[in-house]
Symmetry: C2
Amino acid sequence: MRQGHQTWVFPSKPVIVASAAIGGPFEAKGPLAEDFDILHGDLMLGQDSWEKAEKVLLEEACDKAVAKAGLQKEDIHFLLAGDLMNQIISASFSARTLAIPFLGVFGACSTAMESLALGSLIVDSQSADYVVAATCSHNASAEKQYRYPTEYGSQKPPTAQWTVTGAGAAVVGSKGSGLRVTAATIGRIVDMGLSDPFNMGAAMAPAALSTIESHFRDMQLPHNHYDLVVTGDLGRVGHSILCELLPKHNVFVPLERYLDCGMLIYGDNPDVWSGGSGCGCVATVAYGHLLRRMREGEWKRILIIATGALLSPISYQQGESIPCIAHAVAIEAEQGGMGA
Amino acid sequence: MRQGHQTWVFPSKPVIVASAAIGGPFEAKGPLAEDFDILHGDLMLGQDSWEKAEKVLLEEACDKAVAKAGLQKEDIHFLLAGDLMNQIISASFSARTLAIPFLGVFGACSTAMESLALGSLIVDSQSADYVVAATCSHNASAEKQYRYPTEYGSQKPPTAQWTVTGAGAAVVGSKGSGLRVTAATIGRIVDMGLSDPFNMGAAMAPAALSTIESHFRDMQLPHNHYDLVVTGDLGRVGHSILCELLPKHNVFVPLERYLDCGMLIYGDNPDVWSGGSGCGCVATVAYGHLLRRMREGEWKRILIIATGALLSPISYQQGESIPCIAHAVAIEAEQGGMGA
């Protein structure tokens, strides 16, 4: 492998056999509602804590994806999962319920593509027949852990983002038909010195740029190769910054083909400030909405770049800036119109 | 791959080109002091917070391992790292300093072998020439985050363990000579219903049993195949439980060849109750002490089983029991007496 190369090309093109997205009551009112497999009317999901509700979202996403794949849990060799909670308890406790050998991963909101990239590598190297890659977040558990108690009713600036209540899961396998994972680019940390946790989009945009640049350089692809380049979750603020950064760095991705999951999930709703965020944002938008449109033949090749802000409340309180990262996964349709 | 199979066999046998261990002042007084590359007399490492001190431990371990391998940071394709801090900030901030493409992993104290297993898979599948697998922990940052403020002077029961201040790193590569990673077994969650965070050894012993059983079953190896089977970090309590559990489950690992990293690092010191723990325990004992003894020809084949208790203070406060996991990595010497 070349020095500086950070992209894996998967010769066997692992198949996304099925995927699933679960959402909460606020997501049910958004423009992508029809792309969720299950939408909950109760933010607590019948549980007695936000954290337990979040765990149920993840369990449901995994169960649903495995069922849609026509498989049993016993067929899945490994679960790769992570979330925003301290010690990724949503993922670990879900792994207890699912009883699948478990690899915990963490990259904040980039976890969705980190787990899909690693899972695809495991399948491509014949180290598993099937894996599940899954992530989740819950608005109330994230507010409680990262920010002020919701009851304070504290004001947020327009650069803030709304953590998605949702979970997404993909079953990746060595056989079957469906969309295929062709490559993945693992990001390096980019930290431009920003330290405002209410402006993650601006902090994360340069990390997305770095990974997109590396992907096209490593793959030696023309910048218009993909029908869609989609970041998750920069929001409106980060999206507009990246739209400026890309041409400045001579990356001429056609901007009309560039979308952001944080902008898609809630549409123009001004209540979410700059847009959606959280591990559940890119996971539900990608595994629900985007893959559905690919399966319907709308796009043949997409590149999903999940961005993560790797701060903690402690690092912020100690005056640290926000290290950011982005991982990209390329997904291609073999031909138009495929099932699951 | 067979259903239920959870072991990767690495045909290319990736090489542990070099490894390094960094410790704190308490570790410097322990019986393994000579096996550390750097020992700090100051628990703060000249930083202004425990968390920043912990990050320096990890950075030093990575730097030292890369230097001992005769490599530059630019030669390392990926860093796989994790730690006990919320949002694994020690790993993420170290990845910022090191500027190596970064995969964050979390499995509490099992992170050391999770990162080595995944790193070896990445090298074995020719998806990198070199990776670094690294983990760390810091006694004071862990006490602050997981337990009571140290200033309370709260009493601990004899089943408690002492979080190691230390970091370990291994450079794994596709070429070169040295010890070789031959296989890895990824654990599934085992939760026997225990919920006492001051008795992790008892909670984790059944997870270690599960992974050891799976390893020998998947590999179809005789139970006396390894010269050493070593858990990390069950401590005295967990070690004695596992010594009972193994023969009861018809796993006849010779008990005189079974050691625990949590017992090795501080010897008989009664101040550490049941022994050492933390992501830095198995990492420093394995990458410092154990690999040195292998390089000197004392053992040809060892199996390291790193155990993790996947609780968080929130999950404990909400009455949850402790989900535990263990990941195992098999390391073999090609022939007696090799360098680095």
